[in-house]
């Protein structure tokens, strides 16, 4: 959950939406990211995101809240990442408000940089990102 959501006071509503969609939240952790941590987290998107540097900067402007999410009743067959990405909606909130108005980014995002949430891209990355954030960063 990106800093602007926490600053706006929308964190409770966003988490409520996640739980209502049938996902379970196994753990939470807040951290005020440094530039190096934010770059490490988003490094794979360097050549993919047009707003990469602004996104990195935004992640350092306040605390982010990391949520460890499991599929609960929301997804079957172990496709938690895919199901949750669907709940997050398109990267661009404006597009999400047209195509997926109930998605998290459509409801809580402002623009491409302040798009409410970052979520794991690929199923195989789920465990890696989990361990990085909830074990490596949490122990700092």
């Amino acid at each position: 959950m990106k800093p602007h959501v926490i600053k706006d006071g929308s964190a409770g509503s966003l988490i409520s939406d996640i739980l209502s969609a049938g996902f379970d939240i196994e753990a939470v952790f807040s951290i005020h990211m440094s530039l190096s941590i934010a770059e490490t987290l988003l490094s794979v998107y360097r050549s993919l995101l047009p707003s990469y540097s602004q996104s990195i900067q935004h992640l350092t402007t306040g605390p982010v809240m990391a949520l460890l999410i499991s599929s609960g009743s929301a997804a079957s067959g172990g496709r938690c990442v895919e199901s949750f990405r669907a709940l997050c909606g398109p990267l661009e909130p404006e597009l999400g408000r047209i195509l997926e108005p109930n998605s998290l980014r459509a409801k809580y995002g402002l623009d491409l940089v302040h798009n409410a949430v970052h979520c794991t891209d690929l199923e195989e990355d789920g465990e890696l990102e989990t361990r990085y954030i909830f074990e490596t960063l949490a122990s700092l």
Partner: protein, 144 residues
């Protein structure tokens, strides 16, 4: 005229002296109330400072899963009513007015089941719960 202080440091010290810090402990069985805690804090103009699930590994989170958080507000605003409001939202959630140093101690990586009894017995001042406190056995605090 003698310059005694700069406005920004004076303001910072003034505001810091008026800060009120609340420790909130959400048992894992009451996690569904976590959004209500955040929304209630917002209603009372409290900001989320820190939050984490007790434990140092994903396995700890799944086995224990208690959530410890700190919310911060300014004394004298209606934030002082936050503990009373939280008791009405969910009586199983512990809310305590604590100084920042105690909250820093209370955000360990150890599983909360080892830590909470010691903390409550040694540092408890005011705990806002509608349910009576259940005596808990002191568990030795060990670091592995």
């Amino acid at each position: 005229m003698v310059l005694t202080n700069y406005a920004n440091s004076f303001t910072r010290e003034y505001m810091t002296s008026r800060e009120v810090h609340f420790l909130v402990v959400i048992p894992s069985s009451r996690f569904r109330s976590f959004p209500k805690v955040l929304n209630t804090a917002r209603q009372f103009s409290l900001s989320l400072a820190r939050v984490r699930t007790a434990g140092s590994s994903v396995r700890d989170f799944l086995e224990c899963g208690d959530v410890v958080m700190e919310v911060v507000g300014i004394s004298g605003h209606n934030g002082d009513e936050f503990p009373v409001a939280m008791a009405k939202v969910d009586s199983e959630i512990i809310v305590q007015n604590s100084p920042m140093e105690e909250i820093t101690v209370c955000l360990p990586t150890l599983p909360l089941s080892l830590f909470l009894p010691t903390y409550l017995s040694c540092h408890c001042r005011t705990i806002w719960r509608s349910a009576p406190l259940v005596p808990v056995a002191l568990a030795p605090l060990s670091v592995s």
